[in-house]
Symmetry: C2
Subunit: 267 residues, 2 copies
């Protein structure tokens, strides 16, 4: 038993979808969440820069005595997971491996699409993760750089969003994928439009629930799950910029549990 | 006479439009340009964070012995100009005042539109600058957060871009502005679509040329223009991330003079 909190981080607000899944799967665990809103987005930035930012945040989370770290950001997972697993004294869990596992389980024709930021797609992280689980699967990747700003603008059902989705996703339709990994924590908010464009028969995979399961397994394997507590656990939310916007938009993701936001500065 | 270089900075690559104007207006001056690609964009970030970033870059430029600083970024000008003017021992020139001056000169009906990032529009910097020059003018502002990612994606003539421009700009059309300030250094690349949407009779104001003129005046007033030199001056370009992308995309803005890019890290 270990009542220390779980550290979770993302480039901004999207990782809260993973926090929601953790709260659901592990209702006794406390979460310390860092959203790096001062340097968002990570998607178009270089691996070296994303590694530097991820390492700063992981160091800070370890100072908060977390017992595990969840990288709730596909780009940071793609670039920094292995390094943080080597460097950190606690288990580090990313979103790519769980997403790949869910996709392999879902596909029937072994044709899997992955959409994400330029950083995630160019890293090849999903291709490798899926190949290691299902060597016969064919993986089709597409970077969708405008999806994050569209979600942040709140245009989840604007006609322009549909037009952009058609431009990004027509190759997925032509490739006859039967499963599409939403390889960015912002994308679940565009799921209705994405489903319309690729076809309702394509299974959309969101790695949040699967990541929470991977965390639960890691805690159980090491016997560091928290003891049952009285009342609801108290979570902490930290943004590196604009905490009011973070709270307002973040409540769309996880509701009123996000009632106060701290700030910190890395640099 | 003073042969020290001119420091120019922006959140990323857009400020190169101002560098091009400086090279044209002041062909003997050397430029040291910093694009903060590791933390781009500034538009949605808080004034405090944009001030912190701007101050770090200005400090670095002063260490390079620049004789003047041009803030080639509307958001950074809106939030940090006055502070940097107080703190720096050299003249500091922003893009807002020159853009406002050009707009006031261009308008015939005293109805001026300004488009920019959320940070620029919410700051009210253009409203104040225009009011100080033309108290009777009416100013209409509109934030266009998706324009920067659209330009960075290279979608300057995509049908989705037109649809988004129509959403952002229909209020400008209804307001019967006869002059529209492109209050973000990325926007000149969208000028053809913007002109189509607001009407070809609306004058689009790009502050780059006017900013270069303001710099020339500042150098002349203080007698710190450079002496005539033999051959072309040697400029320096510094990006805080992804120098290869910076060079490739930046050459679209200023051509082959951008032949090598250094990197530095603030933090």
């Amino acid at each position: 038993m270990n009542d220390a909190p779980i550290g979770v981080f993302d480039s901004g607000i999207g990782g809260l979808t993973v926090v929601a899944a953790i709260m659901h799967a592990l209702p006794h665990e406390r979460v310390v969440y860092v959203g790096d809103t001062a340097r968002v987005p990570y998607g178009p930035k270089s691996p070296e820069t994303v590694v530097r930012y991820s390492r700063q945040i992981a160091t800070w989370l370890l100072e908060q005595q977390v017992k595990a770290i969840v990288i709730a950001c596909n780009t940071a997972t793609a670039h920094a997971l292995e390094l943080l697993q080597r460097e950190c004294p606690v288990p580090v869990i990313g979103v790519v491996q769980p997403g790949a596992r869910a996709a392999v389980r879902a596909t029937r024709n072994a044709r899997i699409g992955v959409i994400g930021t330029s950083g995630t797609i160019n890293s090849g992280a999903y291709h490798r993760a899926i190949a290691s689980l299902a060597p016969d699967a064919t993986v089709f990747g597409a970077a969708c750089p405008l999806f994050v700003p569209l979600v942040e603008e709140g245009w989840v059902d604007h006609p322009a969003t549909r037009l952009i989705a058609e431009t990004y996703l027509h190759a997925m339709r032509d490739a006859h994928v039967d499963t599409l990994v939403l390889g960015c924590t912002h994308y679940p908010l565009l799921a209705p439009i994405i489903a319309d464009v690729v076809g309702r028969d394509v299974t959309l995979v969101d790695s949040a629930a699967e990541t929470a399961n991977a965390l639960r397994d890691a805690l159980q394997d090491r016997a560091i799950a928290t003891s049952a507590i009285e009342g609801a656990p108290v979570h902490r939310f930290i943004a590196t910029d604009a905490p009011d916007t973070f709270r307002r938009v973040g409540q769309r993701f996880i509701g009123p549990v996000l009632d106060s936001v701290e700030t910190t500065v890395f640099a």
